[in-house]
Symmetry: C2
Subunit: 356 residues, 2 copies
DNA sequence: GTGAAAGCGCTAACAG
DNA sequence: CTGTTAGCGCTTTCAC
């Protein structure tokens, strides 16, 4: 009476049962696919009609409380408004829905307090499993979840312990693709704008950079890599200036992601330098629209959709079969050559000749 | 025993009660902020300690079942991987979390079947309210929800009935901003790439275009507006070609969104036309990175975060106060002048002089 | 201020 | 095959 503004009175199994002239547990069995066959077609039809007529919808909350399975998966991502997560989310959701699950998504903006809240919320809501896109190399959420023994899989980033399964791309390999490409073009002095080192992506890519450069016997002074404090345009801009100040001989810059590369574009512009004529720049992730930049960005494509769908499938398997398959999945990225990387100018090559 | 792989045995109020030596309803009262003061500090402290020690977390499912309020809000968006929705989602989530709610987000890819599923899922999970970003001008979801009497607010798009509150931007005004700007630059023959007409955004913008052009007494033949079947790059490209074929005198194109504008860039490029020298182009939405295009896109900025936060607050108000405030919120967009629109070439002006 | 008791809507033994 | 019964974990009158 009082709450006339709120949702209509809910139709329950009992009411449907009364309308169909059966016991309410019969209604339950009819509505549930797994028990549906226990009921005579005739009765079932009657029940279904009554349900239809009354507008019955099963209350998932009550069912979950009873079965101890919510069919809800929690997803925690650091940034929803970034080019990389939406496609992953999309793919996750697709396989989840297909299998009768729904996702509750929390965005943390990389804020530990919000992560904590998100985690508490997910536990309180009895999610059946968690997909974590915000893992740091030593992540408290991962620990908490593991302690609780509930299924969890990390995407895109991984932690350092190796105890929790993850679906990531091979960042070491990816950055090598870039460095090799640059070297083939003739670059001898390649710089790296690294991402945050507490993230597996940032650290793996800079590690990969060091390895790749060493393998080629190229110059790899400490000064050729500068760490951007964040994966943002602005951080990239600043880091690029710093790199060029510290190491003016640089002819090519491999940025740890596209946003950083865009920051490099800006910095070069501010310095009156042309890309790729004066300096080559590469990105990472192949974000939407980077093909439309001037120049179109040479970058590394990661299989975002596959990351998402693999992670979801893995999680569901762990949930439904209890398999503790620890196998990390490491996907291969792919070089996308466009026009932001070209051969260095002869003059640059000459000016440094013999300096090594 | 059997299910050793699944989540740890849940700690309940009863166990905490036993550990603290009180009745379980006392525990409930302590844990709930609203009833917390009914309990002596002393007892409360004891309970809290026991809860802490046992790792008690209240089961939101059970609580929701009992209270009939889930503190979950459903959000349905047509595309999560679009430049426009993520910031809106972000803002929604922010105010929701602040007030103790969580969001369950469903993405439909504009697929009616998926929308239907999403809707069913939300109802089954007893969401307290719904934010709908996928409304069409005659939307079955809106109808279903309204019939059910549950709180709903639409964002970004609205339906045609005016019975359900929405938070949108003033598309008619926004497109006028663009047309006025183009006219001031000296354009006399302005074309429009319209978006899908079954969406309020698409139809309002083309309506706005017609009005603005008429107001200025500019040429506005039926041929100057061509409808893109979708808000995509490719649709924009095709529409642009069609427009230019039908109406070669066009010197400026107002696209109904940024993606369409980008498609125009591509089409112009294919025709060997330069923007803005030969043809001016404008977008709509001010998506990320359009400032980095060549040329940087002149467009209209919509207050995405405000759309989200307003919608969330409105919904919460309806839920908590039962206020049926029907007031639609219409936010003002803003012109962002960059370099894709410039004065038409004198030659173009001359060649058409006197033709009207 | 705290305990007792009832019940939210559902599923799942267990009977028959 | 269908009905009976007993909770899932919590909140909330109602007593004391």
């Amino acid at each position: 009476m009082k709450r006339s503004g709120r949702g209509r009175q809910q139709v329950t199994v009992r009411e449907v049962a009364r309308a169909a002239g059966v016991h309410f547990s019969t209604v339950s069995r009819v509505m549930n696919p797994r028990t549906r066959e226990q009921i005579t077609d005739n009765v079932a039809k009657r029940v279904l009609r009554a349900a239809e007529r009354l507008g019955y919808r099963t209350n998932a909350l009550a069912a979950s409380l009873r079965t101890r399975r919510s069919r809800v998966i929690g997803i925690i991502v650091p940034y929803i408004d970034s080019p990389i997560y939406p496609p992953i989310l999309l793919a996750i959701e697709e396989v989840l829905n297909e299998r009768g699950y729904v996702a509750i998504i929390c965005n943390t903006q990389n804020d530990p307090a919000r992560e904590e809240r998100a985690l508490a919320e997910m536990m309180a809501r009895q999610v059946d499993g968690l997909i974590l896109g915000s893992a740091t190399r030593h992540d408290p959420i991962v620990k908490a979840w593991a302690r609780r023994g509930a299924p969890l899989v990390m995407v895109n980033r991984t932690d350092q312990t190796g105890e929790t399964p993850s679906v990531v791309t091979d960042d070491v390999f990816g950055i090598r693709l870039v460095v090799d490409h640059l070297a083939e073009l003739g670059h001898k002095t390649i710089g790296h704008i690294a991402g945050p080192q507490q993230l597996s992506t940032g650290s793996a890519r800079s590690e990969g950079f060091r390895q790749a450069v060493a393998r080629l016997g190229l110059r790899a002074a400490a000064q050729t890599v500068v760490i951007a404090e964040d994966f943002t345009r602005e951080a990239g801009r600043r880091a690029c200036h710093k790199l060029l100040n510290q190491f003016p001989q640089t002819t090519a810059i491999a940025a740890a992601n596209d946003l950083l590369a865009i920051g490099c574009y800006e910095a070069l512009h501010e310095r009156g330098l042309a890309c790729p004529k004066d300096i080559s720049v590469t990105g990472y992730n192949d974000s939407p629209f980077v093909d439309l930049l001037t120049p179109p960005l040479t970058t590394v494509r990661i299989p975002q959709r596959e990351i998402g769908s693999r992670a979801a499938r893995m999680l569901l398997q762990r949930i439904e079969e209890g398999s503790a398959a620890n196998a990390d999945v490491v996907l291969r990225p792919q070089l996308v050559v466009r026009q932001s990387a070209a051969a260095p100018r002869i003059a640059d090559l000459l000016s440094h000749a013999g300096k090594d």
